[in-house]
């Protein structure tokens, strides 16, 4: 079969095809395959790896446009996944600058990590003598996120990052912000939360690629949601993102269902919405938006009970 590899020599980008027998492919990990090609066919092929056991994060690459940790991915599984194809395409992680072949530049991502201050300042209650003791539940709350090995698989497929990275950070950066902000030992969650908000917290498009691609089972999308919950609780509500989210909750409480007119008005404000008059007009003309909804909707059947349930949940979960 053919293994097609995206190459970059510092000047030109090109695709190189390597012919391998199926026996050379089967039974190997993706990393072993790359090493095999380097050893037997092309010493000039560049890629990174170190631990070969899924803990250093160095070996992330893409196969057929999806990211994988090379040392933790079996070629047999890839062949099965892609229906025993005649060729597979291996590329460097997307959304990173390529330095050489499959090697990417981590410096900008590390700069982003610095922004969210991933180290923790302990609460006054802790001291050298007493240490920073946590309960099991407090450890469990952030345990998963400590597993992040900075492999970049999530960032590679992030749809928001692909569209525009100038106002958005890599998903794993939010995961590390979550880990620090939700750590019971941390003196000041805002130190991690505020730079997250300033760098795109409300811009995640919910594509769920990060959750799908993470070899450690971490969901940066969920961590982003939890950071948002914290932001709302702490009253950091500026912008259309928080307003939009609140509008959903308000409709749920008011009637049980969304009101598309209120949703637009509450999310963007009346003035901003005049810029969407063409779209509103199209929707009304097509009979898809009922202008009478501006006077409010009818409540759903059982709405009173729904409100009672929500209130009971809130009362019980009050901190």
């Amino acid at each position: 079969m053919k293994i097609l590899i995206d190459r970059f020599n510092g000047v030109d980008k090109f695709v190189q095809a390597y012919d391998l027998s199926i026996d050379e492919v089967k039974g190997k990990t993706l990393l072993a395959l790359l090493q095999h090609i380097k050893r037997t066919q092309d010493i000039s092929l560049n890629f990174t790896s170190a631990c070969r056991m899924a803990i250093c994060g160095a070996c992330g690459v893409r196969v057929n446009g999806h990211s994988y940790l090379a040392c933790d991915t079996k070629m047999d599984d890839l062949l099965k996944e892609y229906d025993n194809p005649e060729s597979l395409k291996i590329s460097p992680l997307a959304n990173f600058k390529v330095l050489s072949d499959l090697v990417v530049d981590w410096e900008p991502s590390i700069e982003n990590l610095r922004k969210i201050k991933p180290t923790i300042t302990p609460k006054e209650a802790f001291s050298d003598k007493k240490g920073c003791v946590q309960t099991q539940a407090e450890v469990d709350a952030i345990k998963k996120q400590w597993d992040c090995i900075l492999c970049g698989c999530c960032a590679s497929e992030c749809n928001k990052l692909e569209a525009d990275s100038s106002d958005y950070m890599e998903p794993f950066v939010f995961t590390h912000a979550f880990r620090a902000a939700y750590d019971s030992r941390s003196k000041d969650a805002l130190k991690h939360l505020k730079p997250s908000i300033a760098n795109g917290l409300w811009m995640c498009v919910h594509c769920q690629e990060c959750a799908d691609r993470c070899p450690k089972g971490i969901s940066a999308a969920d961590d982003i949601a939890m950071l948002r919950v914290m932001a709302m609780k702490k009253g950091l509500k500026d912008g259309t993102g928080p307003a939009h989210a609140e509008a959903f909750l308000k409709d749920l409480e008011d009637t049980g269902r969304l009101n598309e007119i209120y949703l637009a008005l509450r999310s963007e404000g009346v003035l901003a919405n005049t810029t969407k008059i063409d779209i509103a007009y199209n929707l009304m003309k097509a009979g898809k938006m009922n202008p009478l909804h501006i006077f409010g909707d009818e409540e759903i059947e059982g709405h009173e009970d729904l409100v009672k349930m929500i209130e009971a949940a809130r009362a019980a979960n009050k901190e």
Binding site: Y168, H206, L283, I300
Partner: protein
């Protein structure tokens, strides 16, 4: 398919901006032997937005939604991928330990979540009943070239759907549309995100994402884009002119619901399928 009854969860989008999705679904259902019983008193699922403000309130609302379907003794069916994901994840949270606690709150309205019900989507039902679907096709769509856009929440995260289908190489949509006889064009953007959920806070990025999808479908010669998710349809249809203009593109492409495409193959009319309600003219596809 045996006559099959479902507790139908339309979700807010089907009752408002994507009403043609509901019309077309209700038009094809009886032909396919599906009976839809709309869940009385269903509420908004929170659409992964209310969850950012008050996750416990959203979980309670969805536990209630699922409990309403359980009371009907029928599997729960939705066509909205975000509703599907939100309900499925709520169910997983309940089954993995939140059930007893949440049931205390549901008791305020004399309700109880049991955890004995299945949640499924139109795409899944059709995929599981390809033979029935094929046997009902009266107008194979071989002249129609379609680009299939899955939409994130119908496939991702794979583990939330218990790996029911691969999210890197899914097949259900292709299988269903092949059964209708339509010609599927290559489409590099088929697994991408339309950006719907951030269309307010990240408008510039979202406009680029949506526009690239429409552009890519056009480049590959598609007559239209089809999607199983009404939110993707809405995003790519109602904002299309504005986004294409903003990106300096003149491409205009009809975006239709899976249920509308099925309806065309079943020989239903534009009016029955609400194709005249789509914003980008879709009435000439038939």
């Amino acid at each position: 398919m045996q006559q099959k009854d479902f507790a139908f969860f339309p979700g807010c989008v089907l009752s408002q901006a994507a009403k043609e999705s509901k019309m077309s679904l209700e038009a094809i259902a009886p032909i396919l032997g599906i009976t839809l019983h709309e869940i009385k008193g269903w509420s908004c699922c929170g659409a992964s937005q209310a969850q950012d403000v008050d996750p416990i309130a959203a979980l309670v609302a969805n536990a209630r939604n699922i409990a309403l379907a359980e009371n009907m003794n029928m599997p729960m069916l939705t066509t909205c991928s975000t509703c599907m994901l939100t309900l499925t994840r709520a169910k997983a949270a309940l089954d993995k330990g939140a059930k007893d606690r949440i049931n205390e709150y549901l008791a305020k309205g004399n309700m109880k979540y049991q955890g004995n019900n299945e949640i499924t989507s139109l795409l899944w039902i059709l995929y599981e009943n390809l033979d029935t679907l094929k046997s009902k096709v009266v107008k194979p769509l071989s002249n129609l070239k379609v680009a299939l856009f899955y939409g994130c929440h119908s496939i991702r995260p794979e583990k939330s759907y218990n790996a029911k289908e691969s999210s890197t190489n899914p097949k259900s949509f292709e299988a269903v549309v092949s059964a209708l006889g339509a010609t599927i064009v290559p489409f590099e953007k088929r697994l991408d995100c339309c950006g719907f959920h951030a269309s307010y806070p990240a408008v510039k990025s979202v406009q680029k994402m949506s526009s690239q999808i429409v552009g890519n479908a056009d480049k590959n010669g598609a007559d239209c884009v089809v999607t199983p998710c009404p939110l993707c349809q809405m995003q790519l249809d109602i904002y299309q002119e504005r986004y294409q203009d903003a990106m300096g593109s003149e491409i205009r492409k009809p975006i239709i619901h899976l249920s509308q495409l099925v309806g065309l193959a079943l020989g239903l009319s534009n009016e029955q399928l609400g194709l005249d309600l789509n914003i980008i003219d879709a009435t000439k596809l038939a």
